[in-house]
Amino acid sequence: MIELASSYIDHYKSFSNEREETKLPWLNNLRQDALLQLQKVGLPNSHLEDWKYTDLSILHNHEFSLPCHTEEPDLSNIELLNEDFYHIVFVNGKLHHIPDEINSSFTIKPLNQCYSSIKNLISPITQPSIRAINTLFMDQGVVIDIKEGTILEKPIHLVYLTTENQIMSHLRNVILSGKNSQCQIIENHIAQNNHAYFSTVITDIHSAENSLTALFKVTRESENSYHVSQNNVIQAANSQFDYHSFDLSGKLIRHDINSELNGAGANCNLYGLFALDGKQHVDTHSRVAHNHSHTYSNEIFKGIADGRSKGIFNGKVIVKQDAQQINAAQQSKNILLSNRAEIDTKPELEIYADDVKCSHGATVGNLNEDSLFYLQSRGVDLTAAKNMLIHGFAKEIVNTIDLEILRKNINAHVVEKLNLTGRRAS
């Protein structure tokens, strides 16, 4: 492994020489830990149970480098940028636009300008994950601080645009949802051209008591890209976290969502939809830890796989000892549109308390023949009937978005992606 990950380590050496904040000893130590892990195990690979289906060691052979100079990007065609949102734009992994000072009720600051304030919120490197390489190159990202009692009237929209070939980017965001606050955050991952690149994005969310945080993630990366994300959510009592993820393009996508329900009344709702074709690969791992009594979680993940694509869902629910009166529901529903596509879905329950309600269900199947015939017998042709069923299947997840502008935008992309042409429908 050491030799294989060496190109990343070389990059790190030049990266660290340029950085000024290497004077921060705690950050230096953290990066040393990350470096050690990367040297020891490399990028997460199939030797690890959690990475059984998604082996990132293939990236050891790629020569991705940190972008050095970026031309002025063309943002004119970026969707939703004209909406009245708070926009944050990253181009090729570098912060390009951030809203001006807004008001005192919440702040958005570049990560590398506020390390000291978030020092205690950056967790150490423990088990192998994408956190090692992300920490190694951690520099770009934002810290969003929603102060106590603030209800954001507009969503925060983060655009991650990639325009260059053969680059890697490693972003880190921290969201602080203060007591009684409410916010909606949109993460839009998009690309111009079909470049090959590797990006990791870690967004850590700290939900204080009675806060409400909704995160909408849309992944429309290039056909040759590798996108790995991680969301770690620490939830206090009565806080709510809603996660809505839509994976529409990208060569390889991996998401890890980890929610720690630490106080009574804390709840999280996780929804995801992937629509795959070609040789796409999407892997979502969720992990919900019910660490306290009276905590609730609900997960619905749906997948549609065509061509030779592969979709993976692994949903882990942990109920700690003495965490009673838990309600955890999980569903994974999948449709295969081709006999060469593959779905792997697995619920994992670790329950150490007795007064709990945990349900889970997983289905993988083809389009229902009876439904197809029903529509055909009304005069709808087979292709249109298939499209109706597929869109109907996807709609449940699209409809979890209560922000209308966004729902329409995402729905249009979902419909475009899922529309079977005559060729694919046969």
Binding site: D370, Q376, S377, R378, V380, D381, A384, M388, F393, K395
Partner: protein
């Protein structure tokens, strides 16, 4: 309009229909009765073009054309409608969306423009009222969470909007209480016309009290063993299917 000759149908290795002959003219109502497993539903499915069956012999002509190779959607656009015994629930697709798609598919096949949105709404609302259906059903997912009666009414609603030449109603009376049966029957009777033929597939004669057929055929073990007028249905109700079976065994 519909002419079926010596139709033999298999599912896998199992023969289901063993030589069916039936002729249906415009304006006629035919009832196909028979015990469970006699092949009644298969007949409706075969006429509508459902897959999974193999026609081993015989022909099906609709308006003078052999339709056995036509896709279900082609048959539907040409005027064949099947009201399902068990209408399928389709989550995520609204009733109104399907109705409009179905009507427009038919109109396109006839060389007509798609229906104007306002005209469509007016049309649908009129039909809804006649069937005593709540407007909210239009915006619900197809048959999802509908009661048994709502599902059957929804079938008749679709029929009323698509205005088929030949409607096959498969056990439309099953699962209906007396009030729902009356509403559904009224809906069907309203669609009777000299140009439209109907085939009522039913186990019981109950429906035929409301919709009086011109012809009654008794199907048993894949064959039509007796045909007659409405009085045959009443006879069956009185004496049961055993009576027919006994009679035919004796006479053969």
């Amino acid at each position: 309009m519909l002419e079926i000759k010596d139709l033999h149908v298999k599912v896998g290795e199992k023969p289901i229909l063993k030589g069916i002959n039936i002729q249906v003219q415009p304006g006629e109502i035919h009832a196909i009765m028979g015990p469970n497993g006699s092949g009644k539903s298969t007949l409706g499915n075969i006429i509508s073009g459902r897959g999974g069956y193999e026609i081993t012999d015989g022909t099906i002509y609709f308006e003078g054309k052999d339709i056995h190779e036509d896709l279900p959607e082609q048959r539907a656009r040409n005027g064949i409608f099947l009201a399902f015994q068990y209408p399928v629930e389709i989550p995520g697709v609204t009733n109104i969306y399907m109705l409009k798609a179905a009507l427009n598919a038919k109109r396109r096949a006839q060389g007509l423009d798609e229906i104007d949105a306002m005209d469509f709404i007016t049309l649908v609302k009129d039909k809804l009222k006649a069937l005593k259906m709540d407007e909210s059903l239009l915006y619900r997912d197809i048959n999802s969470g509908f009661s048994g009666g709502e599902k059957k009414r929804n079938e008749i609603l679709q029929m009323a909007i698509l205005e088929p030449k030949l409607a096959i109603l498969d056990e439309t009376d099953s699962g209906l209480d007396i009030d729902a049966l009356r509403t559904v029957s009224d809906g069907i009777n309203a669609l009777r016309s000299p140009k439209r033929a109907m085939i009522l597939v039913t186990h019981y004669q109950r429906l035929l009290d409301y919709i009086k057929p011109d012809f009654v055929h008794v199907l048993s073990k894949g064959k039509i063993i007796k045909s007659g007028d409405h009085s045959l249905a009443l006879e069956l109700e009185k004496s049961g299917y055993e009576w027919i079976n006994d009679e035919t065994t004796q006479s053969s």
